[in-house]
């Protein structure tokens, strides 16, 4: 009998296939809205791979882009639970294949005399720009689809990365698709 309880406590959920999803939310531009969205994701156990938020052309509205790994049932929960938030005006799922996605990364690499020469070449291949050079380091900027950034991170793994930051993906729907 005790086993039965333990089994139940361990959540009787069968693993389902997870996919990467892009959720766009139009929210009222007020203090605390981001906290509400973040709190919802946290308390419902939805994971967040990345989250961006900013004002839009309409100053009363902000747009949040969340990328999340979820199975189909969880994803529907994310959408319907988000829609319940009073200050969320609109929730939409963007197609990860056709939507326009961009992310920016800054990365500071240690300059080793031996490898220094090769950095511009790698940067050039990925259309990354050198935005700052210090005595012991070089800062690069790259903008692109998250997958491109991932590839660039892989490519520069041979260097010593001192620090890096990524903005997380921001995205707009394909073609004439508009959220409002």
């Amino acid at each position: 009998m005790t086993d039965l309880i333990r089994e139940a406590d361990a959540m009787p959920q069968q693993p389902r296939e997870k996919t990467r999803n892009i959720v766009s939310l139009l929210v009222e531009n007020r203090s605390g809205v981001l906290a509400r969205v973040a709190s919802l994701f946290a308390r419902k156990g939805f994971n967040i791979d990345s989250l961006t938020v900013s004002a839009t052309h309409d100053s009363s509205i902000s747009r949040i882009t969340v990328t999340t790994q979820a199975d189909d049932i969880n994803l529907k929960q994310i959408l319907s639970q988000s829609e319940k938030l009073v200050e969320v005006r609109k929730v939409a799922l963007l197609d990860p294949d056709s939507s326009s996605q961009r992310e920016l990364m800054l990365v500071k690499l240690a300059i080793d005399t031996h490898l220094r020469e090769t950095i511009p070449g790698v940067a050039d291949t990925y259309k990354a720009e050198i935005v700052d050079i210090g005595e012991k380091s070089m800062t690069l900027e790259i903008v692109g689809k998250p997958t491109k950034i991932d590839a660039f991170v892989e490519a520069i793994s041979q260097y010593e990365i001192l620090e890096m930051c990524r903005t997380g993906a921001t995205a707009l729907g394909h073609g004439d698709e508009v959220l409002h």
Partner: protein, 570 residues
């Protein structure tokens, strides 16, 4: 006209039809109390012993009347003390507006005296909350709060108002002249509800079904759909089981009532669910105390879920069809379709099968010389009458009350279902009594059923019941234990009892007298009946302590995560 924020608050309350407020004063709400001073003929403020009691009272008031309950508390500890009450209302979808004061805007964020981040603390346990620092936003915000609390899936809304916003003045327009309150997005979103196709598909599934079962929950009560439920199940001849929150929505003596399902539900009801080929879930949220094993629950059935909240669909149990909308409207739409599709023979064989299961249902043995919980509950139901409101605390007594309390009217069984908050019952009884009496002075006894464990949590509210001479009969099932904890320790932890059998020496009769109310004690069923009959004649609160055996268990029981095959009956 120019008014202070506090005065605006009082006027918006009146405009929203509020005549009853439960609360506790303190520094950060004194302007509000000062404004309420001038409106005592319209708005009655009930002072409780503790803010938690006020929150549960507002909740009990809302559950008894269907109106929005209002609780008022000061900043800091006042706000933290209502947290359990708000969470309780949130879990059971009870319309509540909680108003808290906060320190002046200039003191916000400085760890000022009695400052807490109230909207942060209550963010995950409210349907929505607001922090008001500008008096010009107050009226519209409060109107939105009432609108959000009482629309769609109901729930608690908190409005936190800084002390300076209460004291500041601004222009105020009564609702008729003011712009309509900002329509909460909630309402707009939920308007996208069921279609005729949804109804036809559901009706078709019902017609095709050989072994249908309805399961319903608190949604039936909050949608005021008890008549429609009754008419629907009779028209379609579908037996109906209910969750804890559904108690009272259908007379347990109705031939189509299957009674309680879930952990402490009837074996017959759980069998019916397990064998059903169609389950129609009405205002029922598939809680883990009912859908014990979400994967295996009603495994053979096509499940149709009717709920006003789209996010409930597939949340706990995967369903085959969802009908999103007000359950009363859905039932009204379904009714004409099912009347034409009843297949009597299939119904007959299914109902006969259910009757065979019923014959084997667990029935505890009577013993008139002792106080058996099931006999006690039956006696209360008989002596108090069908219309009496029961409130409960949480634990064994709560389950016995649900199993044997025989509630036949909606809003006559008020219990903390989702949160399971011990200490809920006395505050709830106070609110329910005041709400049910409706300020008419009508004598409407409320029966508060509790255990010695739960009662010790919030029995301080006895002083409130005395202050307002409320006819609340508290029946304390004293087993000298935290009975439900002890039962779990016995069943699942090899009877290793720790912290469940406190050696308390509380003399409830003397304690009652100390509070200024009548205390009685019963050790036999006859003794109880006599005590209860006497309690019904007393003008004011009464406690009846009932000595029951510590070995009494809530049966049957299906363990968490289990199925009907795992049922325990001894």
């Amino acid at each position: 006209m120019r008014l202070s924020g506090a005065e605006i608050l009082a006027r918006v309350l009146i405009e929203q039809g509020v005549d009853t407020v439960f609360g506790y004063p303190g520094g950060a709400v004194l302007p509000i109390y000062d404004a309420l001073y001038d409106h005592q003929d319209t708005v009655t403020h009930y002072l409780t012993a503790h803010e938690q009691g006020a929150a549960h009272a507002a909740d009990g008031y809302a559950r008894a009347t269907g109106k929005v309950g209002v609780v008022l508390a000061t900043s800091g500890p006042g706000a933290t003390n209502i947290v359990t009450g708000i969470a309780c209302a949130f879990m059971d979808s009870v319309p509540l507006v909680a108003i808290t004061g906060n320190v002046g805007t200039a003191y916000i964020g400085r760890d000022s005296f009695q400052e807490v981040y109230t909207t942060g603390i209550t963010l995950p346990i409210t349907k929505h909350n607001f922090a008001v620092q500008d008096v010009r936003e107050l009226a519209e915000t409060l109107r939105s709060a009432f609108s959000i609390a009482s629309s769609g899936r109901k729930g608690p809304v908190l409005v936190d108002i800084t002390k300076d916003a209460q004291a500041a003045w601004c222009e105020w327009e009564p609702l008729a002249q003011a712009q309509a309150p900002l329509e909460p997005q909630q309402v707009v979103k939920q308007a996208a509800c069921f279609t005729q196709e949804d109804i036809s598909a559901a009706a078709k599934a019902i017609a095709a079904s050989e072994k249908p079962v309805v399961v319903f929950g608190g949604g039936i009560i909050s949608a005021e759909a008890t008549t429609e439920l009754h008419d629907f199940i009779h028209a379609a001849q579908i037996p109906a089981a209910h969750s804890l929150m559904g108690v009272g929505a259908l007379d347990g003596c109705d031939p189509l009532s299957l009674g309680l399902i879930g952990m402490h539900g009837k074996a017959s009801a759980n069998h019916a669910l397990a064998e059903a080929d169609l389950v129609l879930a009405l205002g029922f949220r598939f809680s883990d105390r009912v859908a014990l094993d979400a994967r295996r629950w009603a495994a053979q059935a096509r499940i149709i879920q009717v709920d006003i909240d789209p996010s409930e669909v597939n949340k706990n149990v995967a369903v085959d069809q969802a009908v999103v909308g007000d359950v009363r409207e859905v039932l009204l739409a379904l009714l004409p379709l099912v009347q034409m599709t009843i297949k009597t023979p299939r119904t007959h064989s299914w109902l006969s099968q259910i009757d065979r299961w019923r014959a084997d249902d667990y029935q505890p043995l009577d013993d008139d010389d002792a106080l058996k919980p099931h006999q006690l509950m039956a006696a209360i139901a008989e002596l108090a009458g069908d219309e009496a409101i029961f409130t409960t605390d949480v634990g064994q007594h709560q389950m016995w009350a649900a199993q044997f309390g025989h509630r036949t009217h909606p809003r006559s069984f008020i219990t903390s279902g989702g949160l399971g908050a011990m200490g809920f019952g006395y505050g709830a009884a106070i609110g329910a009594q005041i709400g049910a009496a409706g300020g008419s002075g009508r004598r409407q006894p409320v029966i508060h059923i509790t255990g010695d464990g739960s009662f010790h949590m919030n029995l301080n509210e006895a002083c409130t019941a005395v202050s307002y001479r409320l006819p609340i009969i508290t029946v304390i099932l004293n087993n000298q234990a935290l009975g439900m904890v002890r039962q779990w320790q016995k069943t699942f932890y090899d009877a290793r009892y720790l912290a469940s059998t406190p050696k308390r020496a509380t003399d409830f009769v003397k304690l009652a007298e100390g509070f200024g109310l009548v205390g009685l004690r019963a050790e036999t069923l006859d003794g109880f009946r006599a005590a209860f009959a006497r309690a019904l004649t007393i003008d004011g609160p009464v406690w009846i302590e009932c000595l029951i055996s510590g070995d009494e268990q809530v049966l049957p029981m299906i363990p968490a995560g289990g199925a009907v095959a795992d049922i325990i009956i001894e």
